[in-house]
């Protein structure tokens, strides 16, 4: 298992190098002029030339790429042409907000999706099953940003229960940053009230993001459970008179989880890549909005930085999924 983890971690390096190379080549092929844009409409030709030289736009692609790769090793992820801020610092600023949102959404999806999947499988073809499956179908089909607007309308405008937007009330000071996750930082500081506030801000955007993965996880869990329930060893367990709770908890859940785990892993990247609209609706100061702005202005260093981070998180998530496979199914470890 340790060998597998090390091998996978080593494989990360060529994957990420390939990714940065690909992005560099694409940035060269695109026709736009980010420096001209950043310099402004009134910039002199001298200023534009100076900025091009400053940001290395005049250098051959291989040289720019080499500078970038060597810079990465020292934590220098380049500088934004537009804001002149270091990309690494910006990524660190925006990443925790996005991760907190993504993991909260995933938590909601898993905590509700898996039991629902089990429940519908056990009581399959009953009224409960049909009801939940219909809801799930709607969940998959519903666009996240639209759901976000509906949730705002219901829980903010009509009921007035939850905050409209943002991560924290702007008149309040957020908890001292340790992890960047307001919920965790509040708990670390022992500030229960701040924890409550942070959670209240998370509920709506995380729910808007969670619905689609929740529905998929539920359906996947249902299908796997039905398959496992039909296996001989389950029939055998039943014949031996084991209780339904024991059968489901000990044998079915563990075996049905394997396929569902892959879906959960895949959803990490799906959620990471798709936060933009929800972040827009809820003014969530995350990576999605940062990346969108950079893409619209062809500000390549932030774009490459964000892509790298998402790739690293995705690859690490899949590694965790594989390890969990090994835990659930010893055959995989062979």
């Amino acid at each position: 298992m340790i060998q597998m983890i090390l091998r996978r971690l080593l494989l990360l390096i060529p994957t990420l190098i390939g990714l940065t190379l690909l992005l560099f080549v694409i940035s060269r092929l695109l026709p736009g002029d980010p420096v001209g844009l950043a310099a402004g409409p009134n910039a002199s030709a001298e200023l534009i030339a100076r900025m091009r030289a400053e940001f290395g736009f005049d250098d051959p692609l291989w040289l720019r790429y080499w500078h970038y790769l060597t810079g990465l090793l020292s934590g220098d992820w380049g500088t934004s042409v537009f804001t002149r801020r270091p990309v690494f610092q910006d990524v660190l600023t925006y990443l925790p907000a996005t991760l907190e949102l993504v993991f909260s959404a995933l938590l909601i999806a898993v905590v509700i999706g898996i039991p629902l999947g089990l429940l519908t499988a056990v009581y399959r073809n009953g009224p409960l099953d049909y009801f939940i499956r219909t809801l799930a179908l709607g969940g998959v089909a519903m666009p996240r940003f639209f759901l976000g607007l509906l949730l705002q309308l219901a829980f903010v405008a009509w009921l007035g229960w939850l905050p409209l937007s943002g991560r924290f009330p702007f008149l309040e000071i957020p908890p001292q940053s340790v992890t960047g996750f307001y919920t965790i930082d509040a708990l670390l500081a022992g500030d229960i009230r701040a924890f409550g506030i942070a959670v209240s801000h998370l509920i709506l955007p995380a729910t808007a993001m969670a619905l689609s993965p929740l529905a998929t996880i539920m359906r996947m869990m249902r299908a796997s459970t039905i398959e496992v329930l039909g296996q001989d060893y389950i029939l055998n367990a039943r014949a031996l008179g084991l209780s339904q709770r024991l059968i489901i908890g000990k044998y079915v859940l563990k075996n049905a989880m394997s396929a569902t785990l892959t879906v959960i892993g895949l959803y990490v990247s799906w959620l990471l890549g798709g936060t933009v609209l929800v972040e827009t609706v809820f003014d969530w100061p995350g990576l999605g909005l940062f990346a969108t702005q950079a893409i619209l202005t062809q500000d390549f260093m932030p774009v490459i930085g964000v892509t790298l981070v998402i790739a690293i998180i995705y690859l690490l998530t899949m590694l965790v999924v594989d390890i969990l496979y090994g835990v659930l199914n010893p055959k995989v470890r062979l």
Partner: protein, 517 residues
């Protein structure tokens, strides 16, 4: 630490209760103003950053020598309590306000002003383009501690109009944090100003909190703190404004203004500023080099349809924004007249039409697409086809570099950075700007001469005369389909006092002179 179920429930309910509490009430007690905008403030360096959000920050945490207020905009005292100009327009003398203080309590001196201009010119970024060729490193001199003299390299009538964008930094603070990049890394996230506010909290992508400086030397306003709150969705902005959680909503569309009509506590502001839309023609490459063809198209275009699609707006009357000094409201410009259109088409080298021209519009911008369709319809009457292409802005900027790559029609919005016709005239019609998106191709030596003479003229009468001639020559050349001037649209709460619209920097309002009732 561990949480009991009861504690967890209590904390969640506490969080909910806090969000339900009217924030407006909490804000009111401390006189806190909240400004909502879609735009972030990524860089705090007044000599580097551009864009309206950073400008807003600078106008509230720094001071220029001269401010700009009102409609029509006029220069009013900033750090300089008074000033005078020499008869030849080559020397300006500014007398600093003796009460002016930086936020660290030190007095603002002439040496700080000299230092700031030298840094601005040395870096050559931000607003430096406004005085490029007018001032150099030796032009700004401290005559004594409280007097600054500017010796211009050549006469420049709009000097007082551009000074509101040249902010003065605390030389001692900047020097102490110089680093290897002229303190750019320091001023990226720190303030060294004399403004009424200073920054307390900066949460990128979320909010910026400014606090009133203790012993603020500015006169007026009762605001203790102000928040620049980033709200991306117009619908959210509207809701926050209606709930009283936002006092100023800067980025609103026509439909938002309609929705806010009659809403209690909300004041809508729809004022003409200097942001115009025009369709420029490629005068240096392709069929539109032919002046008669350009005139034919200018006469065939349906201006009324464009105006209808742009409402609330006003039609442009020539190249200068209506209402700006020097703009001639009686200028005879092109309006739809199909007889004249056919007459000019017949006189052109393309009398039978039968060819295709191209235009781009900013991808996703529905109104620009509609205007392109109105042009398509006009061209069809002349038997000319139009190829309409959506493009992203960086591609448009790159395309402007050469006449060969520019589409036949080049559609742009254009704002004035300072309240002087020189801004529009120089950026959009002077041949030295060819290759830039505000003027990709147009060039006429006569127009260049008039623009240069108008910048150097020292009396308003002489300048008005020159700009009058400039407008006539440009209209005769027909390089643009002069489009529309959209009204600036935003809204505020009715308890905001002391606000006065200014068409320059309208989206970067100064907060410190305002009060909350």
């Amino acid at each position: 630490m561990t949480l009991t179920k009861r504690q967890l429930l209590k904390s969640l309910l506490g969080g909910v209760a806090l969000t339900v509490l009217p924030l407006s009430a909490m804000a009111q007690a401390r006189k806190i103003m909240v400004v909502a905008s879609t735009v972030d403030i990524p860089n705090f360096d007044p000599h580097v950053a551009t864009g309206y959000a950073p400008q807003w920050l600078f106008r509230n945490v720094y001071d220029p020598l001269v401010r700009v207020t009102g409609t029509p905009p006029v220069a009013t005292p900033g750090l300089a309590a008074s000033w005078e100009m020499s008869e030849d327009g080559m020397t300006y003398t500014f007398h600093l306000d003796p009460t002016a203080r930086f936020t660290d309590g030190s007095a603002v001196t002439a040496a700080d002003v000299v230092y700031s201009f030298q840094r601005l010119l040395r870096l050559g970024t931000g607003p430096a383009w406004m005085v490029a060729g007018i001032l150099d490193g030796d032009s700004v001199v401290a005559t004594d501690d409280a007097t600054v003299t500017m010796n211009l390299l050549k006469p420049f009538a709009p000097l007082l109009s551009v000074l509101p964008w040249m902010f003065i930094v605390n030389a001692a603070v900047v020097e102490a944090n110089l680093g290897t990049d002229d303190a750019q890394a320091y001023l990226l996230q720190n303030i060294a100003g004399s403004g009424a506010f200073t920054i307390n909290r900066a949460l990128p992508g979320e909010l910026y909190e400014l606090l009133r400086v203790e012993n603020d030397w500015h006169q007026g306003g009762n605001i203790d703190a102000v928040f620049w709150r980033i709200v991306r969705e117009a619908a959210t902005t509207r809701m926050l404004l209606q709930r009283g959680e936002v006092h100023f909503a800067l980025d609103l569309f026509t439909e938002d203004m309609e929705a806010l009509e009659g809403v209690p506590g909300v004041v809508r502001i729809m004022e003409p500023d200097y942001r115009s839309f025009s369709i420029k023609m490629n005068t240096a490459h392709g069929p539109l080099m032919d002046k008669n063809l350009r005139k034919a198209i200018s006469y065939a275009f349906n201006y009324q349809s464009m105006l209808d699609a742009a409402q609330p707006a006003a039609l442009m009357v020539g190249p200068l924004p209506p209402g700006m000094f020097g703009a001639n409201p009686d200028l005879e410009v092109y309006r739809q007249d199909m007889d004249k259109a056919r007459e000019y088409l017949a006189a052109s080298d393309y009398a039978d039409g039968g060819f295709t021209l191209s235009i781009h519009y900013a991808a996703g911008y529905e109104q620009q697409r509609r205007w392109c369709l109105i042009l398509l319809e006009a061209l069809a009457t002349l038997n000319i086809q139009l190829d309409i292409r959506p493009m992203v802005w960086p591609d448009v900027v790159a395309m402007a570099r050469s006449p060969e790559t520019v589409t036949d029609f080049f559609s742009i919005f254009q704002s004035s950075n300072y309240a002087d016709p020189d801004n529009t005239a120089y950026a959009a019609y002077h041949s030295s700007r060819n290759g830039q998106w505000q003027n990709p191709t147009y060039s006429n030596p006569e127009v260049d001469r008039l623009i240069e003479e108008a910048r150097a003229a020292t009396t308003p009468e002489a300048r008005a005369e020159l700009y009058g001639q400039f407008q006539e020559v440009v209209v005769e050349d027909a390089p643009d389909i002069f489009g529309v001037l959209e009204l600036r649209k935003f809204a505020m709460r009715d308890n905001v006092q002391g606000y006065e619209f200014c068409p320059v920097g309208a989206t970067s309002p100064e907060i410190w002179p305002l009060s909350l009732a």
